[in-house]
């Protein structure tokens, strides 16, 4: 049901962990629905120098977290904000239909971390939405 790329990222996830001096932390999802993604970033001069994640969830949730972190590492904040769930899915050679929401969560986790960074920088960014299990 999963592509080889998904399996590979699940078996060997990139960028797992925390960044102690992160200046951007975002969390999306909800334990009740069975998936939570937490992203840590170290952003310097608007560039994502380092990114790590922690995920509670299924194989696709772990694989999309891994792929999304790879795709934004070294990118500018503006570039990272342009990352779509579709791009994450394509990079993983697709996802089963019922797992598409995992890629949406990955996109939102990146945005949530960047929003946190912007808030810390004094920008007026709205709060993250509440998560319900309807994807």
């Amino acid at each position: 049901m999963y592509s080889e790329k998904v399996m590979e990222h699940f078996a060997n996830p990139r960028n797992v962990g925390e960044i102690p001096d992160a200046n951007a932390v975002g969390q999306v999802g909800n334990a009740k629905c069975g998936d939570i993604m937490k992203m840590y970033m170290k952003i310097e001069d608007n560039v994502i120098k380092d990114v790590k994640f922690k995920t509670f969830g299924c194989g696709a949730a772990i694989a999309t977290s891994s792929m999304a972190t790879e795709m934004v590492k070294g990118k500018t904040v503006d570039e990272a904000l342009k990352l779509t769930n579709k791009a994450v899915m394509e990079a993983l050679d697709g996802l089963p239909k019922e797992k598409i929401h995992c890629s949406v969560l990955a996109e939102e986790a990146i945005q949530s971390a960047i929003n946190d960074y912007r808030r810390r920088s004094g920008e007026d960014v709205p709060e993250d939405k509440e998560y319900t299990c309807e994807h």
């Binding site: 399996m7 009740k32 629905c33 069975g34 939570i36 995920t55 509670f56 299924c58 194989g59 299990c133």
Partner: protein, 386 residues
């Protein structure tokens, strides 16, 4: 480690089936030539064997079906429709297999009223609950013998007494129970009982419904006059031969298999409890639990990830998490025993069988703790728990 899902086909069972694909290929309804008559006679012997295996008083109370699911559908829809004049109320539990639950929901859409009884934290329903739910309009009670996810064995005999007292038809889905406990329809006092061959080392695609003589039931499959006009379709003779043979063996070896499965299950449960913190056994402890079933919830992790990592290590298992089931909600059984969603998402069912060895169990116990730890280290919910 997924014997509750299906089992391997036994060599003796396959051998019992093969002649009906090669030599005795006749249609049991074609009585005017030898190969047809041979098939008819063979079918009678198989029916006789199955009746004996479950201690049905009469051979003509055995009806072969295409699956356990069909047997369940037939029992529920057939009894509901045939007794519609008497009433429209059905009693079942919240932890039945979907073959029952979805059938009941279907009937609700067609004017029936269904009571879904709660179960306690171990999955038990009581005869008192059943009795309290009976109304003048109740036409059917359907409660499973043993639960497929958490292994709870329900008090079927006592519930059958309640049903009899109130003259309500009682059906039990014994699909998971056969081969793991004694099933004697006379002693249990049930009116109908479903089983499925592939759960006890028989072939897939064949099941059986026991219908006590005198129970009013409509057809599910309409057509020819097979199964005494109750279930049309040319009999799957080879499949039925496999079912009959597998059941004979399951009954003959019952005590030996139960003792073996219980030993393996207990070794597994102890090994997991001793080596993995923050886990809970779902379902009853030893008493009242099916001999081959272990179901755990591991806090802070999700079931599908556990299954994928087990698969990478060559271990087949199953989970009640939403992801594993492809829906938004975790297993209805785990919800019914009161688990919070996040605990239910981290569930793992391991079911042993007669082929399971101590080495198999020890291998699982050696691999599982590091899988759970690895996933916990990845989980934001586990932060600060250590």
């Amino acid at each position: 480690m997924d014997n509750n899902a299906t089992t391997s086909l036994k060599k003796e069972v396959l051998d019992a089936m093969l002649p009906y694909y090669t030599d005795i290929y006749g249609n049991a309804s074609s009585k005017f030539y030898k190969v047809g008559r041979d098939a008819e006679q063979a079918l009678y012997k198989m029916r006789e064997s199955v009746a004996k295996s479950i201690n049905a008083p009469n051979v003509n109370e055995i009806y072969f079906t295409g699956s356990g699911c069909e047997a369940d559908n037939w029992a529920v829809k057939g009894a509901a429709m045939a007794n519609r004049k008497k009433g429209n109320h059905i009693i079942t539990t919240k932890i039945e297999h979907h073959a029952i639950l979805n059938t009941c929901e279907y009937l609700e859409r067609h004017g029936f009223e269904v009571t879904y009884l709660d179960v306690d934290e171990y999955g038990f329903v009581t005869p008192e609950q059943v009795e309290a739910a009976i109304k003048d309009t109740t036409v059917l009670i359907t409660i499973m013998t043993a639960n497929n996810e958490i292994g709870t064995i329900e008090p079927i005999k006592e519930i059958a007494e309640v049903a009899k007292k109130h003259k309500v038809i009682f059906h039990t889905d014994a699909v998971q129970a056969i081969g793991h406990m004694k099933i004697d329809v006379k002693e249990l006092g049930v009116d109908m009982l479903s089983l499925s061959a592939h759960k006890f080392h028989g072939p897939k695609g064949v099941g059986m419904l026991y219908i006590r003589n005198g129970v009013r039931i409509d057809n599910l499959i309409h057509g020819g006059g097979q199964e005494r006009g109750k279930r049309a379709a040319t009999e799957n003779l080879a499949g039925i031969a496999g079912l009959a043979k597998a059941l004979e063996i399951a009954v003959a070896d019952l005590d030996k298999n139960v003792a073996h499965c219980r030993k393996m299950r207990d070794r597994l449960i102890k090994g997991i409890r001793d080596n993995i913190p923050y886990c809970r056994l779902n379902g009853p402890e030893d008493e009242g639990r099916m001999c081959n079933n272990a179901n755990f919830s591991f806090q802070y992790v999700e079931g599908e990830s556990i299954l994928m990592m087990l698969d990478m290590n060559g271990i087949a298992a199953s989970s009640g998490s939403a992801c594993a089931s492809g829906s938004l909600d975790p297993s209805h059984v785990l919800m019914a025993i009161g688990l919070p969603h996040e605990i239910a998402h981290g569930s793992l069912r391991l079911s042993v069988g007669e082929d399971t060895t101590e080495e198999d169990v020890d291998y699982v116990v050696s691999v599982l703790p590091s899988i759970i730890q690895r996933l916990r280290d990845m989980s934001p919910l586990y932060e600060g728990v250590e």
